[in-house]
């Protein structure tokens, strides 16, 4: 069927693939699993930002002022809020994983209850942190 395979059809024939992630309808369980990994990647970038922030503070008030003005810009504020939400989602999801490590909460009902708890708690904690931080100004 493929003329470029030089007669070696066994290796050129497309191998059967098992249905992968794009085949299935997204579910809370799968979405939260992927979200935990993506937020981990985002927070790794946030950790680089933390080191830049600390290094600027150690360098002196001018460098610290530059970094603070970048964080204070509207783009910086959006990124910082994204990092805050990613942190709380990864924190709540991580605690859910630690509970699973003790072999508890594996019934389908428990998994959905803990899943929605993670979603609502992370949204509530992220919004609460920003409301408290912005209160005096």
């Amino acid at each position: 069927m493929n003329r470029t395979d030089n007669g070696n059809s066994a290796s050129a024939r497309p191998r059967p693939l098992s249905p992968n992630i794009q085949i299935y309808r997204p579910q809370l369980t799968s979405v939260l699993s992927i979200a935990n990994r993506i937020t981990g990647l985002i927070l790794s970038l946030g950790a680089v930002g933390l080191v830049i922030w600390l290094s600027a503070a150690a360098a002196g008030p001018r460098a610290y002022g530059v970094v603070q003005s970048v964080i204070g810009s509207w783009a910086g504020q959006i990124v910082l809020f994204g990092c805050t939400f990613a942190f709380f989602l990864h924190l709540c999801g991580g605690i859910r994983h630690l509970v699973w490590d003790t072999v508890h909460g594996f019934e389908l009902r428990s998994i959905y209850i803990s899943g929605w708890t993670v979603v609502f708690c992370s949204v509530a904690l992220a919004v609460t942190a920003w409301v408290i931080a912005g209160w005096p100004q």
Partner: protein, 128 residues
């Protein structure tokens, strides 16, 4: 299995193979995760409490022994946890020869950034 051996199967298995270091990655990821729960909450609470404060107030905060200690512990746990997590992501999605180099680069990068952050913290805490 040598049936004539007097050693029990458990004694022969102990200290061998994956039971020795195979769970080390998994275990370290959990240990750092548990450490990061209070450390990250302390950090977020401190940032929330210091939002709007100036440079002098920030330096005064980081110079307190509790803040210096917690920040260094946070950097150690954070970058150890990051290195372990990013390694799993690379091992799941990178299937070429680049994989080994990528894992090594992630390890070196994470430990380098941790040292950079710790030195910056100590510079502020101990510097004149």
């Amino acid at each position: 299995m040598n049936r004539r051996s007097l050693r029990s199967p458990l004694a022969r298995a102990l200290g061998l193979g994956s039971a020795k270091s195979g769970v080390l990655h998994w275990w370290a990821e959990r240990t750092t995760a548990v450490a990061l729960v209070p450390l990250c909450l302390w950090f977020v609470a401190s940032i929330v409490a210091h939002s709007g404060s100036d440079y002098a107030a920030f330096i005064a905060w980081i110079r307190s022994p509790l803040a210096t200690s917690c920040m260094i512990l946070l950097l150690v746990a954070l970058f150890h946890h990051s290195a372990l997590g990013l390694q799993v992501v690379i091992e799941d999605y990178v299937h070429s020869d680049v994989r080994f180099a990528a894992v090594v680069a992630i390890r070196l990068g994470c430990y380098g950034l941790a040292v950079l952050g710790i030195v910056a913290t100590l510079h502020m805490a101990l510097g004149g």
